[in-house]
Amino acid sequence: MRLQHRQRHFMPGFGISLGYTVFYLSLLVLIPMSVLGLKAFSLDGKVYLDILRDPRTLAAFKLTFGAAFAGAGINLVFGFIVAWTLVRHPFPGRRMVDALVDLPFALPTAVSGIALTTLFARTGLIGRVLEPLGIQIAFAPAGVIVALTFIGLPFIVRTLQPALEDLDPEYEEASLSLGASRLRTFLTVIFPSLRPALLSGFALAFARALGEYGSVVFISGNMPMRTEIVSLLIMGKLEQFDYDGATALAVMTLLLSFMILLLLNLLQWRLGRRTQQGG
């Protein structure tokens, strides 16, 4: 007994749980990812050049990253208001509204795709209102943004909520009672302490939006050069059994999104350090 106490791993099952974790992870994730990596290296440079020269590629990348950015940005504003209301302003039915925020996460993307399309199409409930104003959402780039906003909402609200719960209202009250305006209080007291949470929520929503396929394919109309996202471009290559082209596109997408996510993480890490030093 006493001997066991001194053993480094007094807790049982280190070997088996580590072994199983690494085995399962390798089988399902690491080996398939490496196969893609190896295939990417073995490709002729011409494949990449062809893809890069194709104007459809550039248009799809612009739309995918741009719409993901816009969707996450819209969510930053409205997600903040939603989170703020849910934490600070109790109203009847708040628990139900709070539960509903996770709907985009729980609703299969194909379902949200056809529902949003029906809603925003010319004959739809919302499309009917916007159409006379000259605003086209479904089958236009704006539709992609709408779908990605829908998908990203829970990510921002759920990262902001705990941060807002930790925020003590006394600081704002102090700032207000010292004569600062509401805007100034928001910008100098509330916003700085929420920055890390806003950033990580943005990163999560952005990452999810980059890969989103199901909800976008229905509402976008999939017009080359106009409303075609990268995932759809890859899908097209796969349908023609052009696996080289699909590999090149996939690797470019993955590298670009990993780089952006790394950048956001670095930014967050620096912000976190600054806040800690400041506090």
């Binding site: 049982p12 974790t21 992870l25 939603v82 729980a106 056809i114 229905f218 699909a246 990993f258």
Partner: protein
């Protein structure tokens, strides 16, 4: 405090109104549309659409994929959370990052990974062909793609909780002579059961709803390799809207059940965490008396 009462009520109502409007447009309306369109043709059309053989086959395949994928990923989640929270070892943070990797891989690319590995012209293709095993454009491919997409869900829910709970209780059980398995079964499992269920619910929702990855590996063979989301796509593209929305309404129902169970579990988890932090508070104070 005076500030709160008189002039700060307008921002409050503004916030509530904007929140309710935004959520009504983006969340409630799509949900309403699904059921409205599904029942537009009446109950008879609805029932016919969801009991038609292809739709039934899609339901069965969706359930099959979830029944295989969810338990496998739950076992993995427990193993991963156990090793990552109960032990210190080199490479721990790398392992943690790698577990999250499938979240950062777009579903279409995820499906493509398995075509590259297991497809006819893939790495294992010739070998699988020789053994007459078909994975891509067949049911096993759908299950594997689902496994990849739902891979981190259970682990993700368990790791923070088990980190918080530490190892004291397990160590106590061990020093009292409990075996490793008994320690896990009687000490750890009761502590994590709600979080585990929470992870399983999320994992299941994603498993049944996955579209992109499954679409790539399915080959869209009606009645054979179509899951419910794929069946919705086919029906919708054929302009058979009532049938598409009828199948969609089943998945929307699943989403609503998921949300209900999820918020019930969240409430339970929060209460349990409060209780345990309360107990910790009492136990934590004792040593200070000793010194």
């Amino acid at each position: 405090m005076f500030v709160k009462n008189n002039d700060s009520s307008w921002p409050k109502y503004c916030c509530i109104i904007i929140t309710l409007l935004f959520l009504a447009v983006f969340l409630v309306l799509p949900l309403v549309v699904v059921f409205e369109e599904a029942f537009r043709g009446g109950i008879a059309v609805y029932l016919a659409a969801i009991t038609e053989p292809d739709a039934r086959a899609a339901v069965v395949l969706t359930l099959l994929a979830a029944v295989v994928a969810v338990p496998l990923n739950a076992v993995f989640g427990i193993a991963a959370a156990w090793v990552l929270t109960k032990f210190e070892f080199r490479g721990k943070s790398l392992l943690l990052t790698l577990i999250d990797l499938p979240f950062a891989v777009p579903p279409v690319i995820a499906g493509f990974l398995f075509i590259l590995c297991l497809g006819t012209s893939g790495v294992l293709g010739p070998w699988l062909d020789a053994a007459d095993i078909r994975i891509i454009f067949a049911v096993p491919g759908i299950i594997i793609a689902t496994l990849f997409i739902t891979f981190p869900f259970v682990a993700r829910e368990l790791i923070p909780l088990m980190q918080e709970q530490g190892v004291e209780e397990e160590q106590a059980a061990r020093s009292l002579g409990a075996s490793g398995f008994k320690t896990f079964w009687h000490v750890t499992l009761p502590n994590i059961k709600w979080a585990l269920l929470y992870g399983i619910i999320l994992c299941n929702a994603r498993a049944m709803g996955e579209f992109g990855a499954v679409s790539v590996v399915s080959g869209h063979i009606r009645g054979v390799t179509n899951t419910m989301p794929l069946q919705i796509e086919i029906l919708y593209n054929e302009y058979n809207f009532p049938a598409a929305f009828a199948v969609a309404s089943l998945l929307a129902l699943l989403a609503l059940v998921t949300l209900a169970v999820k918020s019930a579990l969240e409430w339970k988890l929060r209460r349990e965490r409060l209780l345990s932090s309360f107990e910790d508070g009492i136990i934590g104070e004792q040593p200070s008396h000793e010194y």
